[in-house]
Point group: C2
Chain length 112, copies 2
DNA sequence: AAGTTGATTAGGCATTCACCTAAGTATAGA
DNA sequence: TCTATACTTAGGTGAATGCCTAATCAACTT
């Protein structure tokens, strides 16, 4: 039972690898074939396939096969949960920092 | 030699755990002691300490000890690189989706 | 039909991860 | 000074991760 929390785990875990981030970035520009995605990496194909499967199992990308080539595409909203969490965090501590900033300014003013 | 890329790896890896995300979220509200952070988790302290050390090694949090308690705080810009990468990705594919959307609209219009 | 190519399956191996228990150390309080 | 508290160190275990090679399958191509 993958709840929302476990899902976030998976998305961040998936992003913690250059190969997988490359796939996401590349597919952001449009669908691409498996071997084209793998090409820049000095890695055996089966190893690269694992990365693709991780992303696919997380629901971040999809694929379909036609002939003997498999084409991958981005699932548009696969990254949203991850980005949401991060920006929420930032909004919490940045407002806290703003208040701190205010405080420092006031201290400075009261000095002079 | 931790380059920018390896650093991103580390940040995402660090976020791929409920315990560690809890720490980030909690410290976003202000500095807190180690045992307070650990309290909600059913986990031995040494295990929890590992999570804190992972975050600290990544430069996402800092700590200092006074007396026998250690207090952790957020390092304000520790999450920025992760958020930047994500929002950049989104901007790429969302503009692509917008163009697709336009295309579909035009197709629909030309039908009628 | 035979060869080549793109992808897949199977299985193996080293490393890292996420936990644990047990045994410290150092400070605070009675 | 004794004891409780807050954390730390050391060491061990099972599962997951990230890579590999070898073999196979399923289209194309010739």
């Amino acid at each position: 039972m993958p709840n929302q929390l476990a899902k976030l785990d998976g998305v961040y875990q998936a992003l913690a690898s250059p190969a997988r981030r490359h796939v996401i970035a590349e597919l952001g520009r449009g669908p691409t074939t498996m071997s084209a995605l793998a090409e820049p990496f000095d890695m055996a194909l089966p190893s690269f396939l694992q990365h693709l499967q991780i992303l696919e199992n997380r629901g971040m990308i999809t694929s379909s096969k036609s002939g003997r080539t498999r084409t991958y595409s981005l699932v548009p909203h696969g990254l949203v949960s991850a980005e949401d969490w991060l920006s929420e965090q930032r909004s919490v501590w940045s407002s806290r920092l703003d208040r701190l900033d205010d405080l420092l300014h006031k201290l400075k003013e009261s000095e002079s």
